[in-house]
Amino acid sequence: MPKVKLSEYATSTIKEICESFNNSESELINVLHQTQSKLGYLPAEVQELIAKELNASTAKVYGVVTFYSFFTMLPQGEFPLSVCMGTACYVRGAEQVLDEIKRQLKIEVGETTADGKFSLNALRCVGACGLAPVVMVGDKVHGRVAPADVKKILAECKEGCPATA
């Protein structure tokens, strides 16, 4: 793993989180949750520090991070787009919407655009199946999205409407 020095803020945040869980190895998943929610993502350096703090092997931390889809090792875009690919959304055309987003942004699922504006993820059921197909931009839910709406949603983001509503 490449070595990048963590900022002081990141280091102290991680240490605090680990301490709040008594530096207990069995709290690893909780520690990762909190760290990701504070720092946005879990790059190698962060995992190394967590491993050290919890007295676990880096391999174990890495194993857990890569096992669970919720954890990400890559920074997210300014506008994180998530397309629901749950069954209800799928049968109402989510795949076509996803294809259109991929085409417009020229990125695949799990990637971020070069300018750092958009990242793209696929989710499974956000609990709004009545609005299927669903696309989320940050916390904002767009319901009943058709491929033809994609352009507008992306434009809205670029115009500077905040990612969270």
Binding site: E25, S26, E27, L28, I29, N30, L32, H33, G63, V64, F67, Y68, S69, F70, F71, M85, G86, T87, A88, C89, Y90, V91, R92, Q96, D99, E100, R103, Q104, L123, R124, C125, V126, G127, A128, C129, G130, L131, A132, V134, V141, G143, A146, P147, A148, K151
Partner: protein
């Protein structure tokens, strides 16, 4: 709830919040204050009403007036018309699609008529963040009577007699599970609530936790009393922030009221609950994987036996039950085993919650008595198929289940019948499909899910499903052969027989059931290179019918790749070598001039 007051119940479930229910509440409160009504009217954010299709929904009690598809800007009118002038606001009332009559009273709406609400009894009726409202509806009475009047054996006996079976998919008798865990000698035992809800396209458990968290807390405490555990854990998906917050609030309130903690209600019984977060892995819903995940490890299943009841969390006896299973417990104790077992049919007692979604008119959360037919659920409660299309299949049991056809519509829904028909109850996802859905693609969709979610521990599941997916992919591209169909079923059976955990053992079900029930559709793909439903991109093309085309230019302007040419008022034309088959023109054309061939 206090008497002589009007209550406006606004659905605060995830679906309605996504359509600005929070803004509606805010606006209602502002309007109510502006009209000095704050002492007479209370606005409450409740859990899911179930009628997600028409969300956001609002109910005004005591008169039960039901408003659908409400917008934040409607708040002023609701206050002026309903609260001040005392007459229902006609334009927001639910309209019966059969005769276009307005229906005001929610209990008279077809969607609710055939439902029986036990697990969802409080969802949409109470403020989930207020323990007093739960208590006012007999909340914590079951815990009180259990602790003061019954021995643990007697409570277990009641649960056994009620016939309640696990709602997480397996259908194991709940009372029996409790008894087994109780009978294992150990100084430390655990109660675990499985709120991982992995089925993509299902939101039953999340809705219960969002709408009525106390019912699960109460039931877990009762379970702790029965099996001899003082600690409970809820394993919940981190993707459910609202459910997590409501659960946290509920836990704090229960502790304040002495309903959790040391010496509950002076009974010498102590019990408390902690939360553990899942991180997006379907296999963690499997109980052994879930336990490993709670221990901070990768969520990989291990061989059973030993069952968690004997050796679970950190090797201690652990009773794992699903959210909905727990939500039934307090009612069974309050109303008795006989009452509960009078609902349902021979082998399956009580009710089941389903997340009804897909191509039905009324997408939503429903609770129906066991033994009701699929037809009643889809056509009476669900209001039939959208846009007047034809019913094709219904999928139950999520990625582990199968697709049933119109031939099976009249079988009574219960654990055993669904398995006999080639599907399963599962945790309650129910997806309805119409003539436009390609069953090969659906099977492929579920396999993609399995591939993503297989933990990789055993070969048949890790590699076998990959091979299945490759074959299906080939078929959807029109490159499959008749022999491929045989290979599909052969391989499926090997995977079923040789995988370690339930995920692998059930993952080929969507393939097998569609192969059996929709063989003609598979054949059309492999012998004629056609997708009869018009879904498989590689097997279709879009063409403009020159007779129907008015030359409105709408498709021309919307085509993202400039594949359409044509003059205004002249028939348009699609250049097939440029077309990426996105379907936008097909959706946009107002004259049905674009055909899928």
């Amino acid at each position: 709830m206090a008497e002589n007051k009007t209550h406006i119940l606004v659905c605060g479930g995830t679906g309605c919040l996504a359509s600005q229910a929070d803004k509606i509440i805010e606006n209602l409160k502002t309007e109510i204050e502006a009209n000095d009504l704050e002492n007479d009217v209370r606005v409450i954010s409740t859990g899911c009403f179930g009628f997600c299709e028409k969300g956001p929904v609002i109910k005004v009690v005591p008169d039960n007036t039901f408003y659908t598809s409400v917008k934040p800007s409607d708040a002023a009118d609701i206050v002026q018309e309903h609260l001040i002038k005392g007459r229902p606001l006609q334009r927001l009332l639910y309209k019966n699609p059969k005769n276009n009559y307005h229906v005001s009273d929610s209990s008279k709406i077809d969607f609710y008529k055939k439902q029986v609400r036990i697990a969802l009894r409080n969802c949409g009726f109470i403020d989930p963040e207020n323990i007093d409202e739960y208590i006012a509806r007999d909340g914590y009475a079951a815990l009180g009577t259990s602790l003061s009047e019954y021995t643990p054996e007697e409570v277990i006996d009641t649960i056994k007699k009620s016939g309640l079976r696990g709602r997480g998919g397996g259908g194991f008798p709940t009372g029996l599970k409790w008894e087994i865990t109780r009978n294992v000698e150990n100084d430390q035992k655990y109660v675990v609530c499985n709120a991982d809800e992995g089925d993509p396209g299902a939101f039953m458990d999340r809705s219960i936790l969002e709408g009525d968290p106390h019912s699960v807390i109460e039931a877990m405490a009762i379970c702790g009393y029965c099996i001899g555990a003082d600690k409970g854990l809820v394993y919940i998906r981190a993707e459910y922030p609202l459910a997590i917050n409501r659960l946290k609030t509920a836990l704090t309130q229960a502790r304040e009221y002495g309903l959790l903690g040391e010496d509950i209600l002076g009974s010498n019984f102590s019990f408390d609950i902690e939360l553990r977060y899942g991180a997006g892995a379907f296999v963690c819903g499997e109980e052994t994987a879930l336990i490993h995940s709670m221990e901070g490890l990768r969520g990989e299943p291990t061989f059973k036996p030993p069952f968690p009841s004997v050796s679970g969390y950190f090797g201690k006896p652990t009773n794992v039950n699903n959210v909905e299973t727990f939500a039934n417990i307090p009612v069974i104790i309050n109303k008795g085993a006989e009452w509960f077992s009078s609902i349902g049919n021979e082998n399956s007692k009580g009710t089941k919650v389903f997340a009804l979604a897909g191509k039905v008119n009324n997408v939503g959360l429903i609770e129906v008595p066991m033994g009701i037919t699929l037809r009643e659920v889809i056509f009476d409660i669900g209001g039939g198929i959208r846009d007047g299309k034809k019913f094709k299949a219904v999928q139950t049991g999520g990625p582990s289940g199968g697709c049933l056809t119109d031939k099976e519509l009249d079988i009574p829904i219960d654990y055993d019948n669904l398995i006999k028909a080639g599907s399963m109850m599962g945790s309650g996802g129910m997806i309805v499909m119409d003539e436009d859905d390609c069953m090969v693609s659906i099977a492929k969709f579920y396999l993609e899910f399995t591939l993503d979610e297989s933990c990789g521990k055993c070969t048949p599941c890790r590699i076998g499903n990959k091979r299945l997916h490759e074959i299906l992919d080939k078929i959807t591209q029109g490159k499959g052969t008749v022999e491929d169909l045989e290979r599909l079923s052969l391989l499926s059976n090997v995977i079923k027989d040789s995988s370690l955990c339930g995920l692998g053992q059930t993952s080929p079900n969507p393939v097998l059931s569609t192969l059996k029930n929709f063989n003609e559709e598979y054949m059309a793909h492999v012998t004629e290179g056609k997708c009869p439903a018009g879904q498989c991109k590689d097997l279709l093309k879009y063409e403009i019918d020159a007779e129907m085309c008015t030359g409105c230019t709408l498709c021309f302007r919307n085509c993202p790749v400039g594949a359409i040419t044509g003059e205004r008022k002249q028939p348009h034309y699609i250049n097939q070598s440029l077309c990426i088959k996105c379907g936008v023109c097909f959706q946009k054309c107002k004259f049905k001039a674009i055909n899928i061939i």
